[in-house]
Symmetry: C2
Subunit: 678 residues, 2 copies
């Protein structure tokens, strides 16, 4: 791309040329968003042009980054900032599709930047897009001149022609990590306006969260906020039920509470969808962005697996054959997923269920509190391993599925792992409540889980990362100390080094497909199921949950802003699989609450049901479940129709997208003029 | 628009310039698609330029129609054909949005015809779009020169400046009707390849039906075909159950049949959605077409009511206010619809239900067959009136709703009227089956309804229009005969007059919102409910239904092709409300079949259920129903989001749509070249 042209564009460009900020002294400061870590060298190279770090910096500058080198205590850091010019070039190379003013997603072109819809904060690229561009640029440095010999701490590395510099250095352990950096200004602003704003209850600056963390995390907090706000109503109702003694009316009030709570949950799940689409209307998220390439952890390559596109190219000529192939492909994929789900469900029922039931039964039978305590300790120890194994098995199974994109794969993982957690969390309660009709134990367990475990979890969630961080700091100091320096004097002066030592936002089941959001959503879903499924047995549970979530909003914010590294942005802009899990929990809760009500009314155990009738009722419920689940399993649009449409329109779009963009950005001018004329 | 430019375009245009066909003699024949009826005059005007019919023809020719005058026995006919040139102009004036090659719907422009996706038969406009253009042109003739005095059979009409000619003449009863004409060639071809192709079972030339009748009718036949094809499986299963005596296994086989049939129904409804989207992929139906203006009966003006667009214009400045207004508007509309539905449901339960139950009870109690027969006759007579009144009330209520478009309004009518028919058809059967456990009467009623009434209905459906047609012919002859001509000699030589005398494809509940498809779909839905809801009581019902539907396909085709006028095309391209009704029937059938099974197993009436438990079960089922119905009531996307998006994108699109089109049709050229280069 011609540089002079770019310059010309940039002169005209209405947006900030480099992502610069005015510091208090008036001169401009670039915003560094990515950090590259290399170990601190012992031996300084004499010939700088052979020095690995030097070459790396030079190459980064050649690409167009603004580079700053920071020498920390144990490591050296290269901080990178990208001017809009560089980002634009990368976006064009990546063929990132962005929403244009006419509502269509087209490939980004630097010259026609006016044709694209801006972000709510006025910038051209969202954080997720910027991150994609950074990754592309950093991992795009290739030797195209001659073989170079790089030296690092005495080690010699031969950088061959056509070899990727970063991957090479990573394999040699010279580049230790590439990670996104916090933007201090914005972070501090968010800390003030969000994390420390306790008295704002459920209000949060969602748009700012979106532009700082990306869509997925912003959606999580929007969901958490709305859920908590909505929770206040059943919380008040539940507390009233608990505090006021209705006497003989109690048995009338309880079903009313049940119906109100279920209606509340149904309305909540539907109104959340509306809220979500309203949020998406505010953020110009392109469809491709939300489904295609978004989430990529640095270092991992984009999966080379993309059969639909390959199929597309190969079978362009024969439509009937193409359709057949697509259909076979679609159904095979579905079969694989079905098989995997069956394996998971089967192993949960055959392996986990007996274990959980054994624990619940022993807990019910045993009298001695000490033995109970020991049993619980063993149990808690065991489930740690079980969930870990389950997560690993699920990830392995999912790798063989042909899900369309990373987000779909993450959803598949969520469903599978949630099955495990569902069993683990609820089966004991079911055992006490439904089999033994032991309402006392049930309430005890609920209070225990809701109060103790949530407070503990909140504490753990925040203190564990901090402890990890402190330990890492200690180790660095310790190592240095061994080399003779006074430990007390070692201060972490550079912010980037501190960030490097902070733990990342990762999921407890491994970060291959999910990040820390998995744990946060899991906590919410389990809480939702707990309070809703046993609503009739313990109405004030809603109040506990509301209180806990009000805390959760700020502690999660604090965790993200102060304790963890800035997470890798994810493009998906919906809650994804979790909403379906919430819907499933609502369904379950209709059935469980009915059973609870029946047990509550039937105190003398006089009600009987014929086994034949019971069988018919079970059959009915299973069929109803299938009726409502089926439409989720089989999509309404066949894969070949979608592929066909995509093929035709994208072919035509790609053929003339440059002209289209010119038209739109020109049309935009006319559009503005038209407005003036009005 | 400059005529020379148009000519130039037409020379270049790759499509047939006028919709011409080669007749067997080699010269070209225009296809007349609209007929205008005026009464045959007694007095011939001397001054032709004042003659009403003459002026009308001249005006039509001025607009660009190819005109043919046919003098019939009682009336005179003006047949109109439109060259592509005329249609294109009308489409551009109407700002019809058509699918372009880049997958976006843009306003039609004659010069850029290459940018638009062609119909499957290669033409530019679909029948629905052509019809829209015809209506626009016919009802767009306005006097813009000077007051003219037109004479007709001695009557004098002053055609004032700015007055609409057709509306004026219609109000003076000179233009009796404007109606779509059959295309003889295509009609005969379809008659051979479709209506008389008995041995093809469920196969039909859907694409040809689409291009001749429009999307809605084609979708009906595709649905009927697929439904019949799918029916064969449960039909075979049901027959096996009936013919083979399973002995003691019978009680095991029946639940299996039930489960299989429900699964079949669930799969069918989901796979139909897939089929529908596959069909839509074949036909380039623009979104605007399917939702906005499509369906307009000639003579009726497009409803002037369009608040959302007005709201849009007025409140462009203030976003927050706009959002609030939209939300109030959306919720008010929903409230109105809810109120109307509540009125209908309330009146069905309070007025219709007692009546139906009274009839069922009397039928159950009475012994004498003669009284039973009389009772049934009175009943049949009464329900005719009830449904008519119900239909009228519903239409009146719907007029006060603010549904988005005509198709949505038609859907709202379907729901309301189906409630009525549902009660009428099934309540008696429920009474016999569930309340009295009278399986003998139940089977009798089912056989009666499935065999007798369907055969009768099929006969009536086809013979009634034919009788009407014959009667009309007779009346014309009779009138002429009174004037002294010999009746036997009066022959209907002109096809257009015969078509004029044919009845139109209209709904039994009035044609304000629905056409004859309502009755056809209603028949299917009632049959579906009948066979599915009582599947366990009478398995061979499926075989009857399959047989009936195999006949139905061809008789409906025959009815449309031979007995009725060509119907006014409708743009909607889905089954609409009917699919939801099918889904509801599946839900109902899960519950009814379970009840039936329980009654069947419990022959000695020993099974008992506590009233408390029964109440809980009913509550559970109601909540489950709400859970699944709620997502249909509250849409996932708020109205203001949709309006906002539409506003922004259409503004931008409208600003530069001409340039966009030029780009695409130019891009199309490049696209073709690109292909060659490959």
């Amino acid at each position: 791309m011609c540089v002079s042209l770019l310059r010309a564009f940039c002169r005209e460009c209405p947006f900030d040329f480099v992502r610069l900020k005015m510091n208090p002294h008036g001169n401009e400061e670039p915003v560094f968003e990515i950090g590259v870590v290399i170990p601190r060298r012992v031996v300084q190279e004499k010939d700088e042009s052979c020095d690995c770090a030097y070459v790396l910096v030079k190459e980064f500058e050649k690409v167009g980054f603004v580079v700053e080198r920071v020498i920390g205590i144990a490591d050296e850091f290269i901080k990178l900032a990208a001017p809009l010019e560089t980002l634009g070039r990368a976006a064009a190379e990546l063929q990132i599709k962005k929403r244009t003013l006419i509502g269509m997603d087209l490939q980004f072109e630097v010259e026609e930047v006016k044709a694209f819809v801006k972000q709510p904060d006025g910038s051209v690229f969202s954080w997720c897009e910027r991150f994609q561009c950074y990754c592309h640029l950093i991992y795009g440095i290739v030797n195209n001149k001659s073989v170079k010999t790089l030296k690092f701490d005495g080690k010699e590395i031969h950088w061959k022609i056509g070899e990727n510099l970063l991957l090479k250095l990573e394999s040699e352990n010279i580049v230790k990590q590439v990670f996104p950096l916090h933007d201090e200004k914005k972070r501090k602003k968010l800390l003030r306006s969000w994390a420390l704003h306790w008295w704002h209850f459920t209000n949060q600056p969602i748009d700012e969260i979106y532009s700082y963390y990306g869509a997925k995390i912003a959606i999580y907090f929007a969901f958490l906020g709305m859920y908590t706000r909505w929770l206040l109503f059943p919380a008040a109702f539940g507390l009233t039920l608990q505090l006021i003694d209705f006497g003989s009316l109690k048995l009338v009030v309880l079903p009313v509470f049940f119906i109100v709570v279920i209606l509340w949950a149904i309305m909540f799940s539907q109104f959340w969808k509306r809220k979500n689409s309203a949020l998406l209307a505010r953020w110009p998220i392109s469809f491709a962005d939300a489904t295609d390439q978004g989430y990529r952890i640095p270092g991992t390559k984009a999966s080379s697996w993309q059969p639909p596109i390959e199929l597309m190219k190969v079978f362009e000529s024969d439509r009937a054959k193409e359709k057949e192939l697509f259909q076979r492909y679609e159904w095979l994929g579905r079969l694989m997923r079905f098989r995997n789900d069956a394996i998971i469900i089967f192993s949960i029922i055959c392996l986990q269920l007996p274990f959980e039931l054994a624990y619940a039964h022993l807990y019910e039978v045993l009298d001695s509190d000490i033995i109970k305590f020991g049993l619980t300790a063993i149990y808690l120890f065991a489930i740690q391993y079980i969930t870990k194994i389950g997560g690993k098995v699920s990830v392995k199974l999912i790798k063989k599925e042909n899900n369309e994109n990373t987000e779909k794969r993450a959803d598949s993982l969520i469903y599978k792992v949630f099955g495990l957690y569902f069993m683990q969390t609820y089966i004991g309660i079911f055992y006490h409540a439904l089999l033994h009709r032991n309402f006392y134990t049930l309430r005890q367990v609920l209070i225990q889980r809701l109060l103790l475990s949530e407070v503990l979890e909140n504490l753990l969630e925040n203190s564990l990362p901090y402890l990890k961080y402190s330990y890492k700091k200690y180790r660095v100091r310790h190592k240095k100390g061994e080399k003779g320096e006074a430990r007390e004097k070692i201060q972490f002066t550079s912010r980037v080094e501190k960030e490097y030592l902070k733990p990342s936002y990762s999921a407890s089941i491994g970060d291959e497909l999910e990040d820390g959001l998995f744990d946060d959503f899991l906590e919410l879903a389990l809480q939702f199921g707990m309070i809703l499924m046993f609503a009739c047995a313990f109405p004030p549970a809603f109040a506990f949950a509301a209180l806990n979530n009000l805390m959760e909003i700020r502690t999660d914010a604090l965790k993200l802003l102060a304790i963890l590294r800035r997470p890798v942005p994810r493009a998906a802009a919906t809650v994804g699989a979790w909403l379906n899990i919430f819907q499933f929990l609502i369904l379950m809760s209709i059935c469980t609450n009915c059973a609870l009500l029946a047990w509550l009314y039937d105190e003398e155990r006089k009600w009987k049901i014929e086994p034949g009738l019971a069988a018919i009722l079970i059959m009915e419920h299973v069929l109803l479940l299938i009726k409502f689940g089926f439409s989720r399993i089989i999509p309404e649009e066949p894969a070949w129709v979608r592929a066909n449409r995509a093929k035709h329109t994208t072919q035509a779009q790609n053929m003339c997208y440059k002209k289209l963009l010119r038209t739109i950005s020109g049309g935009d001018k006319g559009f503005g003029e038209g407005k003036k004329l009005e």
